[in-house]
Symmetry: C2
């Protein structure tokens, strides 16, 4: 059961001018479910992405990076399949990824190098190219008929509900729309990107600016969530800017640029948090604020140490205020000269630990009260500097074990 997350209403996911969507049920792994997505982008769209840092990055990730580089971001279509990650598949995997771009390029009348391919699902297995080819044909026939909710459904794996978010803003008298979708729900510890996230806006955004923004936005959204600490082989976040609205930005100082970037970040954070709310087996949504760190990296290290601790996560699952486990995680987070005697720890409004030890006024009942909530905020003050960050995670439940013990069956 996702934590305070419901499927988006179809009408809440606003169409983005210049983006046409088609999906198909191609039985890549399972019968009867949407598992192929084609997204056609208007001529002139700019596209930028960030991808997994896993050295075993999947064949489609390598091809995406090649095509983005060679085209300078002038991408005309995205192709996504679920059910098979096409990772750990060597030369044949690369050939299959390239072949899928050719098939889609032929169907849409664009070069294969203008297609970005994405795959998600089981690792170490080859794409079923016959079924994928049929799925591409069917999805192309559907292009223009599908909507963002169809797209969100087509990229799901163990997600229990589709994830999408929209925002709109006025700039220079024009209405600009931002819509995005994402999927989780395990092997989630994005490192430069997330499992799969797609966002589009009908503003025009100059390629260099878009590339910088995608990195910055990923760092404050998808790169700040974790379910299980496992960085996937297929993480990808892509943002497309079609320009169909007539609004256009090419530098940070352009009118409306700050508002547009904020809208993109807001959508990205909602999508990233949705991965956690629907994390495998999640019953709690946990926000970890680390304050007063000496650097951003240090703040993130402390946040992730807490977020990845199986002991912290099981305590949250049990609503057990066994909060010493949080201190232990801070202690092994790798901050070599950490002075634990200056650390303050809060659970929502409850002051749990002061100067590294139990707060004299802390009462178990107060901790218990907060731990029972579905949404919990941990705050750690390190008293070392001025860098703050926030990491979002979920608890570790029996269902996480069940889901991952049964994933392929």
């Amino acid at each position: 059961m996702p934590v305070n997350l419901v499927p988006p209403a179809r009408e809440s996911l606003l169409p983005v001018g210049g983006v046409e969507i088609g999906t198909a049920r191609a039985a890549i792994r399972k019968q009867g479910r949407r598992d192929v997505l084609v997204m056609r982008l208007a001529e002139g769209s700019t596209v930028a992405g960030v991808f997994t840092t896993n050295r075993f990055r999947a064949a489609p990730v390598r091809v995406c990076q090649e095509h983005l580089g060679a085209s300078g971001g002038a991408i005309r279509a995205l192709l996504v399949n679920t059910g098979c990650a096409n990772a750990g598949t060597g030369e044949q995997g690369l050939a299959n990824a390239r072949r899928s771009c050719e098939l889609l390029g032929q169907a849409l009348g664009c070069e294969a190098g203008r297609v970005l391919p994405f795959s998600t699902g089981v690792i170490l297995e080859h794409l079923p190219m016959d079924r994928l080819a049929a799925g591409i044909s069917a999805a192309v026939a559907d292009v223009g008929r599908g909507d963002w909710l169809d797209a969100a459904e087509a990229i799901m794996t163990t997600d229990t509900i589709p994830k999408g978010e929209s925002a709109q803003l006025k700039t220079g008298g024009r209405t600009v729309t931002v819509t995005g979708i994402s999927k989780g729900a395990g092997m989630i510890r994005p490192n430069m990107a997330t499992m799969l996230g797609y966002m589009a806006t009908d503003a025009a955004i100059a390629q260099p600016l878009l590339e910088r923004w995608v990195r910055e936005i990923a760092d404050l959204s998808f790169n700040r969530v974790t379910v299980d600490g496992d960085t996937s082989t297929n993480d990808s976040l892509v943002v497309a800017a079609t320009g169909a609205s007539g609004a256009s930005v090419s530098s940070e100082s352009d009118p409306g640029a700050a508002e547009l970037k904020a809208a993109l970040l807001a959508v990205a954070q909602k999508l990233a948090q949705a991965l956690v709310r629907d994390g495998e087996g999640a019953t709690k949504f946990i926000t970890i604020e680390v304050r007063q760190a000496a650097s951003d990296a240090e703040a993130a290290a402390v946040g992730y140490a807490i977020a990845h601790s199986p002991l912290v996560k099981t305590a949250f699952f049990a609503s057990d205020p066994n909060l010493g486990r949080i201190l232990a995680a801070i202690g092994y987070s790798g901050v070599a000269d950490l002075d634990v005697d200056r650390i303050e720890l809060y659970l929502d409004d409850v002051h749990v630990a002061t100067r590294g030890g139990r707060h004299p006024d802390y009462r178990e009942e107060d901790g218990q009260r907060v731990m029972k909530q579905a949404e919990i905020r941990i705050r750690v003050d390190l008293a070392r500097g001025s860098h703050d960050t926030t990491v979002w995670t979920c608890d570790l439940s029996h269902d996480y074990v069940s889901i991952n013990a049964d994933y392929r069956s």
Copy 2:
């Protein structure tokens, strides 16, 4: 249910001359169980230890380090309590740890500075000093009557069975005994030491040599096991050398030194592996061999990435040969210039992946056969250098979640 591990027979844990043991039931946290251990060491014993690198190291760990440093290893007694870790307890925690040394020193007629205190259990709570004092008195009254199995029982927390190991060797016509005990069973990712491990030999070992050996032995035993990746606040491994056998070594080149070190390492590895075999919820014992790494640190990083992946661990629990998860973990292990196209992966005798992709002869049934075993060996060849290491871990089961969700109740 521990994996191929049974409680040691009482007579299999050989007494070590110069070591006298006493235990007590002091109700530190729970009624009726042994929870205080006193180990008296003969005058002239040398003692060395390695301790957690967690910055939130517990008060007793700090006191141990002080006393070892100030006494030059001339320790006369060890004091251990379970039920309360005395961690995250600030100044009062330090005062309590020091006070416990005074109490034991008075009872045994030695200086407080010759006592090493150890605590394990719940973090963020203070020691119940009244009950501990009574426990110390009772354990001192028992000194000389207890044996190593009593000691192993007295240090258990969530362990399901006591852990101990002995070895004997002949050197220079003298029989030398090595006996050790350890406890787990969660928050196990020792980093320079383990949760609690105590070893003793009746050989005499010169202090500088003993200190070096303890570090080297810890690195190849306790520092190579993990249950959940959580480095405890209280990890401690201590080795005492009493000299009661008449055998004596003071340098690596002394007659019998190599054999003695090998015996100490063998006992330490058995004790460390026992932590994993009895790891919280463990149903499988997994040996991860990483070969041909460019450095020891790199080999360990790859081994631990596999060992800590919740996805790998749940796949082992399910006996599901979802082996792409192992490749993904290798890929995010932090080896920046890793060439995945040179990686070979084996599961026992089954060649799963070659040159980074699925081996053409690999059949799912073969993987399945190995995954169903209670003991599984993963071998990764990195083709980067000549450094090898081995990491031992267990799977992640429903029982791990249950145990840690219910730990304090």
